[in-house]
Subunit: 878 residues, 2 copies
């Protein structure tokens, strides 16, 4: 005979699979001696047997009656006994938490006789009647499948008839009348009287909880959260305790530490003479838990002890529900408490110091993505705020700007340098140009995966979505929140990390690492195997990266260096050159500027390696827009400015020549170096001249030259020879050895496929996963994120945006192949990643598993990367 | 000691690698008893040793002197002996023929004494002197690197001074004087006297031939013809025979069958009293070989026998050089004869019928790429022509273009995209770059075996040679035919199949398969394992494909169907629709048109499968150009046409929304189907309605629905469900079962990487290698071919254009992976290729090796694909 029922004290607190999460927790708490209201758990096996048989399995109810008898004996109460009635709760509890998805029945066991018994026992007839009417309503809804609103309607009508506003104003007479009406409703709707027999009530309730495993919202929830259908739910039958038995009774919730700051000490609230739902419903304002020290000092001490016991047992901050029934404390539930990023860090570090958990535990417990929020620009915690509304925290960071209501206006004004916030009911692909130009986005509709949310996250722009309190009038060019009308051009601030929308320009602060965070990251460094470097193009970024713990620059792009107002003319002259001589002349102008760029960044990273990528983007990115040039040319013709006409015609001719249908796949990267070797030669010279200066000044520059977009070994070999030649020349001119490494980016599939050959000429590979993702999927990120990716994510064609979370199945397979082939050719090949994925925890875990040497990410993601790298190492210890 | 020198009779006639083609041929001919002038071959190994050492390898010349002594003993002559002087030719001969690219020295061994000896022996002092002066000239040019024209200048001056027009008019006195002047010239130019020592002459000549391996035109030739630099050339030292010893002597070249048509019977030309170079140089116009039957009947019979012997020995049509020295026939060279595609087919098929070779031999012998030329367009037989002149049909095919007179100009203008015909008195190896860039070649001198003829045939370029009616003025930049003066830039048409030269642009027609070709292809079908299908979008193309032997449509694109003037408005209305309803209304208009399209093509391919690809290109391709729309809108605003303004504004808005940065990687393919499922649903309905009609009319349509650009299994699964739903609906409406297959294109790397998953939902894969090449390399074809690919090919970064010849290392690796993974999931998965590579022989071989089921190519390449598929099967029999 299968055993289906366990008293709490009999159960195995570790066996969530069998007892469900709640059941296991109750068993565990019973075992460690906490004051848990006694009861028993019906196993998930019973549920699964029920599901497959279509009826309760043989012997189940016999076991239930058996355990019930034990429970009755223990408590000296009896289910259905009018003298000493036992009341129980019947709750679902699956192995994986599915909050609110399944059903619960409270106060089971009440009927007219036991209600009077309860009244006598508690000396509170109103309470007993109110419990009975609540029970009928809940049982009717959950077990008899009646609409909740039908009961509410009767209650409302009664209140209206008696001109009553609050439920607490209902008298015993009112409640008696309501019970009569409720029972009548049950007969009318179900054709049967409401069951008075307590055992029948219990049997029906157990079946109802089993059935609720298959209710549509639970099925959808499991599908969305990838929870197996086969788990089943356990059922917990627990004796009821009452926090509403007078002023010596109470009920409350608390955290064992402050969930916002992580500060030690209980943090929570309670209500005297109340049931748990009163706290949740918010009808009465609860008191801070600290008041209990005065009101119920005995219980308060008891609670403090319980918190300590729980934390040392569960080795984590707990979130507890408790009830005091006539001075007796009962713990109804405990679970790991949700907390802010800041609190998570402090609690973990404190617990290590308290000897409760190990460093490894502390690191593994962090949600790296959550911790990232500590590193965005944030609303100044000391600022006084006017919070207008609260939406969904769709894309973190704080942004301020003037309200505008159209993407076109956002584009024009944003591009003109004005700070604007684009406010829309929702966004579509047509709005992208506006999102690009705005500081942030606020929408009144749409969830965390709406178009606006995805696009903004993709751009790293703060966004608050689904802020339904904001009523937008596009025609009137204002939005309304309650009484407040916010006109166009009003300055607002949005906080995408919390979802808050605030009036005015709210001061923000640069994030800094707290002492606890710094300590935690130092521990991470002890365990991680991946090095963490940063992507940085300027000495300032490099300094920031060092401050956050980067031990090198994994990607120093050189193209931004050509965009400055002082450089662009020389760059354009270089591109417009018709002959090699003219091009070299223009390059000679750029050389000293580049040299200074490299000097600065190598100096800032003194002692660490700097991986410099030679020019990558298509040349037309440096030329003016065709339309603008055409207009300027027309103007020059009007004023017959022949010199300008000639110049502009040349620009136009060259721009048209350089026009590309698909610039992502065009004339860029090493392709520039092959066709115009003089460009790469100039860059190599600038690098080595900077290196020579630094060496002569006593610094320790570590130079790595990286060739982008290689797809064949021949491309790399040719550029390698060119760089070596320049190196030798500069070395001779400056009479100093200039050691360096040369390597390549792996960013087209062919490079990954032929990694074995390419490694013959490369000392390192840096996986450029942005482009590798684009080419592996055949997605242009610029186009995909605005056009079809939102649909793909909404329809679950893709579970993640592959530009944010590395696609392990496709792109990952190429990377693994390249790692294997590359190392087979060159065992000491250094492997890293420098795409945006380098800062994403899941992608970092992949990099660890794939055996890379380092990840490189934006300076602000370096801390997260350090943490994620440690987690990966700890999770996959071999 | 490496053996570097082999007497002809000692050599291995099969070892072309070691002895070169010519040396192996001489060895083989000696072995089978042909009258070959005796001599010896210096191996390619000696050449390679020379190239790497920078000097002749040790022992080489000792071996030469050894063999020379044997030769002298055999012939009873001695090099440098005034009494019985031995004269030798020194010729290059590489493993792969490089006609005219390397150097040759004839009559080596002459000096003042031996010349007199030769005079005595031949009793022809004028001949001896003429030989000596030719030798000085040739040796001076080839060995001493003097300009050929310097000698010619002296000759011309002498002829002028004596008022002589033909070389044959030169007397012994003239020649003696000329020899004196030549020697003086040598001293003046080289600072050294002309070497009289015959052994010194031989040593220098051997070095010169080795050096000529590296001369610029040979290097270019090898690059163009993809011949390895490492092969090296052999040197053949052969006793001279003289075709210029009077009227009983002759020299000539012939093919054992007609190299243009393949007709049996000798085909060639000869000159009496001449040396071989006179024939090749085209200075005198030779006589057809058939005249020899009258002039030298004995020799003619002997030649006929030799031809038969050679063909049955080599089992192939041969190209022979021969000399008759005072009635004695010598065969100087034999090699497999170059031939037109038409001749190649006929000769192979005839030889099978003659029992000389097997069908497998015949098939393997075909150059699939050359055979493709049979399918080029030819002059319309019904066109009215202005035939200017008639030359020799040197290389078949029709070509039109503007007349240009220099190779340099042909190169510049040809590469700029202009169609030009290169017109020259004759061509030399220095003109190759111009021939490459021209549409065709016309020469006024030279025979069917002249330089122009051979080179043009090799490139598959139409050529007319020896068109003597054409009098060219290079300075005046015109040519004259009778009274007609044809200026530079005049458009002419040449027909290399007939030798006609016509004024103007002459219309051309499609070719048809000859009976021999049809027979050959039928044999191909016996051996090939790959099925050959065609890419066709219209019933007309489908019919053409069937005619050429396609057994299915591997790719029927549906987008062209929307481009017609009758459909475009409905298509645009569909794209401009703002709501699902409007879009469905527009789609309903397109439905009957699409249904008729599919009806037509399925009917044309009755009984064969038709793989229909659902809409693939980005929608903006169907919308008008942004600039045009802007102009139209401005005009509409000017005339205040409000309806038009509204319409155009909508078009402009939508076009801008659909604008993409990288359309290749954008919103297209299945991405359209996911976002707008109603489009694919309409297409599926059109397909199935057409299928239902045909079935009800008694046809046998085989429908395959192909989803483009899939990268994840979920995309395919969703579209598969959509198509199945439509199929079921139409099937119910029409009350008929509508069987079909569903599959996908594999055209992004991720699809190949995840082929195992995708095959769960696909019954077939069609590798779209155009896009797969673009994404694997990260090349946009539209951009690459105009920008960096030419440099990449010139600099050997790539050996082939990967859009023409499938990249086996990169793209091929993905395909092999997908084949393996796909078949592991679904053993009966049908695999094919539908990119342009489907018609390229090398790529077809890859498809065979990778185990695909079929290739699909353009209808006109179907015959070549059938042939190439058979060759692949025969070449890789396991």
């Amino acid at each position: 005979m299968t055993r289906y029922v366990y008293a709490f004290e009999e159960g195995d607190g570790q066996n969530r699979q069998l007892l469900g999460g709640k059941g296991a927790g109750l068993a565990e708490m019973s075992k460690i001696g906490l004051p848990v209201p006694p009861g028993f758990t019906i196993t998930t096996e019973a549920c699964n047997a029920y599901q497959s048989l279509g009826r309760l399995p043989d012997g189940l109810m016999e076991q239930v009656w058996d355990k019930l008898a034990q429970l009755e004996a223990k408590l000296g109460k009896k289910l259905g006994d009018p003298e000493r009635p036992l009341l129980v709760s019947v709750r679902s509890g699956a192995p994986i938490s599915m909050p609110g998805m399944m059903d619960t029945v409270l106060n089971l066991g009440l009927n007219p006789e036991t209600t009077e018994g309860l009244a006598r026992l508690t000396q509170n007839r109103r309470f007993a009647l109110d419990s009975y009417r609540r029970f009928i309503q809940m049982f009717g809804n959950v077990v008899l499948h009646m609409e909740h609103s039908r009961f509410e309607h009767l209650l409302d009508r009664l209140k209206q008839a008696h001109n009553i506003h609050e439920d607490t104003q209902l008298t015993e007479e009112h409640l008696t009348e309501l019970i009569r009406q409720y029972k009548e409703l049950v007969v009318n709707e179900t054709g049967k009287p409401f069951p008075d027999d307590a055992k029948e009530q219990l049997t029906l309730a157990i079946v109802a909880v089993f059935d609720s495993w298959k209710n549509p919202r639970a099925v959808v929830y499991r599908r969305l959260n990838k929870i197996s259908e086969d788990l089943g739910t356990a059922v917990n039958v627990q004796s009821m305790v009452f926090g509403n038995m007078g002023d010596t009774s109470a009920t409350g919730v608390l955290f064992t530490r402050n969930p916002n700051t992580g500060e030690p000490g209980m943090y929570g609230e309670y209500l005297t003479n109340a049931q748990g739902e009163d706290v949740v419903a918010g009808i009465r304002t609860p008191k801070p838990i600290q008041e209990m020290a005065r009101e119920m000092p005995q219980t308060y001490r008891q609670l403090t002890d319980v918190c300590q016991l729980l934390e040392s047992h569960y080795r984590d901050m707990q979130d507890i529900e408790f009830t005091v029934e006539d001075t007796t404390l009962y713990i109804l539930q405990t679970r790991s408490g949700k907390r802010t990023a800041r609190a998570a860090v402090k609690i973990a570090v404190d617990m290590v110091h308290e000897g409760v958990i190990s460093k490894e535990d502390a690191l593994l417990r962090m949600d790296a993505e959550q911790v990232q929020r500590l590193l965005y620009r944030q609303v100044d915690p000391n600022a006084s705020l006017t919070v207008l509304a609260q939406g969904l925290p769709a894309s973190p960071g704080a942004a301020s700007g003037k309200v505008v209501f159209s993407a076109d206006e956002a584009e024009v004004r944003g591009n003109a340098g004005e700070a604007v916030i684009l406010v829309r009911p929702e966004t579509t692909p047509d709005d992208i140009h506006g999102i690009v130009a705005a500081q942030g986005v606020l929408t009144s509709r749409g969830g965390m995966t709406s178009h606006a949310a995805i696009v903004a996250r993709g751009m790293g722009k703060p966004a608050v979505t689904g802020c339904e309190a904001v009523k937008i009038s596009l025609e009137g060019e204002y939005f309304q929140v309650g009484d407040e009308q916010v006109q166009k051009d009003t300055v607002i601030t949005i906080d995408g990390g919390t979802g808050r929308v605030m009036l005015g320009l709210v001061p923000t602060v640069e994030p800094a690492l707290s002492p606890e965070f710094t300590e935690l990251l130092a521990w991470a460094d002890e365990f991680r195997r991946l090095a963490v470097e940063a992507n940085a193009d300027t000495p300032e970024d490099a300094a920031k990266a060092r401050e956050f713990g980067a031990t090198g620059i994994g990607l120093c792009r050189t193209e931004h260096m050509f965009m400055g107002q002082d450089r662009l003319p020389a760059m354009q002259a270089m591109i417009l050159a018709e002959t090699l001589e003219d091009r070299e002349k223009a390059l000679a102008q750029l050389l000293p500027m580049q040299e200074n760029d490299f000097y600065g960044i190598l100096k800032a990273m003194d002692g660490y390696s700097v991986t410099i990528r030679l020019l990558d983007p298509p040349l037309h990115e440096f030329l003016p827009d065709i339309d603008d040039t055409e207009k300027a040319l027309a103007a020059a013709r009007d004023r017959q400015d022949w010199a300008d006409i000639t110049r502009l015609e040349a620009v136009l001719r060259r721009t048209r020549t350089l026009f590309e249908f698909n610039p992502m796949l065009g004339f860029r990267g090493v392709r520039l170096g092959i066709v115009y070797p003089e460009i790469y030669a100039m860059q190599a010279r600038a690098i080595f001249q900077a290196q020579a200066r630094l060496l002569q000044e006593g610094y320790h520059p570590h130079v790595e030259v990286m060739i982008p977009l290689v797809g064949t070994r021949a491309e790399l070999a040719k550029m390698k020879a060119l760089v070596a030649e320049v190196n030798q020349k500069v070395s001779q001119e400056r009479r100093i050895a200039l050691p360096y490494k040369i390597g390549t980016m792996i960013e087209v599939p062919r490079a990954a496929l032929l990694a074995g050959q390419i490694a013959e000429d490369a000392e390192f590979f840096s996986f450029g996963t942005n482009d590798l993702t684009q080419t592996t999927f055949g997605y242009s990120r610029d186009d995909a994120e605005g056009k079809f990716l939102p649909t793909y994510l909404a329809e679950k064609i893709l579970t993640e945006n592959p530009f944010m979370v590395l696609d392990r199945d496709g792109v990952g397979r190429l990377i693994r192949w390249a790692v294997e082939e590359g190392r087979a050719t060159r065992p000491d090949l250094v492997l890293g990643i420098c795409g945006e994925h380098g800062g994403d925890p899941s992608s970092i875990e992949f990099c660890h598993l794939a055996g890379l040497n380092y990840v490189s990410c934006s300076p602000f993601r370096v801390p997260v990367a350090r943490l994620a790298a440690a987690q990966a190492a700890l999770r996959h210890q071999s």
